[in-house]
């Protein structure tokens, strides 16, 4: 479930199941979005991106869905593996502006 303040939202998923991580973005002018994965002791690692002229994009085992009407982004990870355990951040950008702003993040834990 979700919580605010000092605690990251968390999601626990059984190994082999699919995961869905959600993100609500704040700026209606944002038109480019990225999902990053951050493992303990490492910097954020690029997973997949999407522009606002698309509502779905697929990568290897990952799919990003964008709903501009409700300013919502989701990351679907198929057949989750132990190596998928990490904190996942969505990030938003407005074209013509170099600023990339990160969302709160979700900690994904894969249960063996």
């Amino acid at each position: 479930g979700e919580s605010v303040g000092l605690h990251l939202p968390t999601l626990s998923v059984q190994e082999g199941d699919n995961s869905i991580i959600n993100c609500a973005y704040s700026n209606s002018a944002s038109d480019y979005f990225i999902w990053y994965k951050q493992e303990s002791g490492k910097g954020p690692q690029f997973i997949i991106d999407i522009r606002s002229n698309m509502d779905k994009r697929q990568g290897q085992r990952v799919t990003v869905l964008l709903n501009k009407t409700v300013k919502h982004l989701s990351l679907q990870i198929a057949a989750t593996q132990p190596g998928d355990s990490a904190v996942y951040f969505c990030a938003e950008n407005q074209g013509g502006n170099e600023k990339l702003t990160f969302g709160t993040g979700t900690r994904l834990t894969i249960i063996p």
């Binding site: 000092l6 605690h7 480019y32 990053y36 002791g41 910097g43 170099e98």
Partner: protein, 114 residues
């Protein structure tokens, strides 16, 4: 080579010390970034350099002083820091297209201010 290298990995400093964080990339990127990340929080943008010029300063206190000697190098000079400045400092680089670009991050410098 898609790597952003940051040194040192860990740094402990007193409030009267002066230290520098270093970042290097060899991807030909023309934009470089400093982010600050507190535990269990998302990275927060501090500075952006585009084509070796400071393009964004997110109202960062002057005790943090960035420097971009060339397009491959980015430094962050630290002076008279406070304990609340303890955090993970992340460097990132991007192509420099002025938005709509993925950033590549280093592993960060974990800074502790005593």
């Amino acid at each position: 080579d898609t790597e952003v290298t940051q040194t040192p990995k860990h740094l402990v400093m007193g409030m009267t010390n002066k230290k520098s964080l270093k970042c290097e990339q060899h991807m030909g990127h023309r934009a470089m970034y400093w982010y600050k990340q507190k535990a269990k929080k998302p990275p927060e943008l501090m500075f952006v350099y585009s084509y070796e010029k400071l393009s964004i300063n997110e109202s960062v206190p002057s005790r943090f002083s960035p420097e971009c000697p060339n397009s491959s190098l980015l430094n962050l000079h630290l002076h008279a820091l406070q304990p609340e400045d303890s955090a993970l400092y992340l460097c990132a680089s991007g192509a420099g297209t002025g938005g709509h670009e993925k950033l590549f991050f280093g592993s960060g410098t974990q800074l502790s201010v005593l």
